[in-house]
């Protein structure tokens, strides 16, 4: 049976997370415009198959297929009435694939709406959306609530608050620094790290974003602003390019493994990949870490 994830991190272990979900499910036939969450109920075997592929490649932490699992986000696909069922079931599927030895991270992404004053979403409403999702993920048996791809500091704070209202699990939070080294909303790595440190979030980091090389600058900035926090690095597999009408990400598994080694040198405790990656990328990273 596994130790609590925070104990593993405190012991200095480096944990390997998983890679892309959305782009992999699309490769498996998920139609464009249909969210991955739809397959949690419709094609659970595909979700389990993908999780298993990552576990076999070496992932010790897998994220549930619930990035767009807030009620606000599911609404676009008409799935909002099933918000609790989808999140709970997604957690169960991830656990089924992972078994008892590894960790299941309950993935929470942005609501897709802009927060007041620039948008209409109030803090209270955002907290409620995140709490609802976190509660269902916790009911499904996740080990940690894993908030990712945040760009608005207030939304990230609301997500942390919502998760804490819903359950007593640890809460991690990572941001997407995709715009000139900041998030699209202008949040710098130091600001993000500091805000999360103030809330006592134990593990913080960067995911998705722009070029994966940018994390080499971003991680030290976060570390400096929040020296106590465990760092998470989960970037895209390079930048998207169109080749013969197919979008491909240009970083090879070997390249991502080399970068992962450098993230760890910079203090990262959890490494994985995001859009455009596959189990091959994770396998290459696992080879580097286990060989080191």
């Amino acid at each position: 049976m596994r130790l609590p994830i925070l104990e593993r991190l405190a012991a200095g272990d480096v944990l390997i997370a998983d890679g892309a979900t959305g782009t992999m499910l699309q490769a498996a036939g998920l139609p464009a415009g249909t969210p991955g969450e739809a397959w949690v109920l419709e094609r659970p075997e595909e979700i389990v198959r993908l999780h298993r592929a990552y576990v076999q490649a070496g992932s010790q932490v897998i994220l549930t297929t619930t990035f767009g699992g807030t009620r606000a986000r599911l609404k676009a696909a008409g799935l909002d009435p099933q918000v609790a069922e989808i999140n709970r079931r997604a957690a169960e599927l991830a656990r089924q694939a992972m078994g008892d030895e590894g960790y299941v991270a309950g993935d929470i992404g942005p609501t897709g709406e802009m927060m007041a004053p620039i948008g209409k979403l109030t803090t209270a409403a955002a907290v409620e959306l995140f709490a609802e999702q976190a509660q269902a993920l916790a009911a499904g048996g996740v080990d940690v609530i894993y908030i990712e791809t945040m760009s608005d500091l207030n939304e990230a704070r609301a997500a942390v608050e919502g998760a804490r209202q819903a359950c007593a699990l640890p809460v991690f939070c990572t941001f997407s620094f995709d715009t000139h080294g900041r998030t699209s909303m202008g949040v710098s790595p130091a600001q993000a790290a500091q805000a999360m440190a103030e809330l006592g979030v134990p593990a913080i980091g960067a995911n998705c974003g722009h070029a994966p090389e940018e994390l080499l600058d971003i991680l030290p900035q976060m570390r400096q602003a929040a020296p106590e926090a465990y760092l998470i690095a989960k970037p895209n597999a390079g930048l998207p390019r169109l080749v013969k009408r197919q979008v491909v990400y240009d970083a090879t598994p070997e390249r991502m493994a080399e970068l992962a080694r450098r993230y760890i040198e910079l203090g990262a405790h959890i490494v994985g990949t995001c859009c455009g990656s596959s189990p091959a990328h994770i396998a290459a990273i696992a080879a580097v870490i286990c060989g080191a």
């Binding site: 464009a32 415009g33 676009a76 897709g112 802009m114 620039i118 948008g119 169109l242």
Partner: protein, 216 residues
Amino acid sequence: MERLFQEMADAVIAGLPEKASELAREALGVGMDPLAAIEQGFKPGMDVVGEGFAKGELFIPDLVMSAEAMKAAIAVLEPEMLRRKQQRQVLGRVVIGTVQGDIHEIGKTLVATMLAANGFEVRDLGVDVSPQRFVDAVRETNADVVGLSALLTTTLLNQETVILTLQEAGLRDQVKVIIGGVPASPEWAEEIGADGYAENATEAVEVVKRLVQAET
């Protein structure tokens, strides 16, 4: 007047809607031409913000609040413009939307906001817009330019579908097509026969201006 113009620009740069409407009322109080207030006062502030955004010095919240300030000022000035039978010069008509299968809204809305702030008449069709709805809107509005947004690598191909549908409808020669979105690129624009590509909302305004001028 110069002082007032400067304060107007500053209110837009700082993103202060209430201050902007207050200055607009002050301008009307001293008998300033409302069009001059927009073009020489508020609009230059928006230009500064657009430049800062393109350079990575300003971000989405700055752009949104500045556009709000601009809108607030125009709302105050509009009745007087109507009374004087004035109209802000319409630089062109633009139909914009996020393509079918894609619900990402923010980038597209920023482009629409910046185009409107710069004097374009914009019909925003929202997200997950079918090719036929683009075609219908182009026909209805007699648009000069249609803007197609896509954030997902999988929905990028739908930008091409809209172009093909415009061709089938016999409208392709009447309207310029501009594309944008994270996975889009100038090469992709060329490959699918779009007329322009823009990386951000500021660039989009420049590209649309250029396309409309080339047309006239």
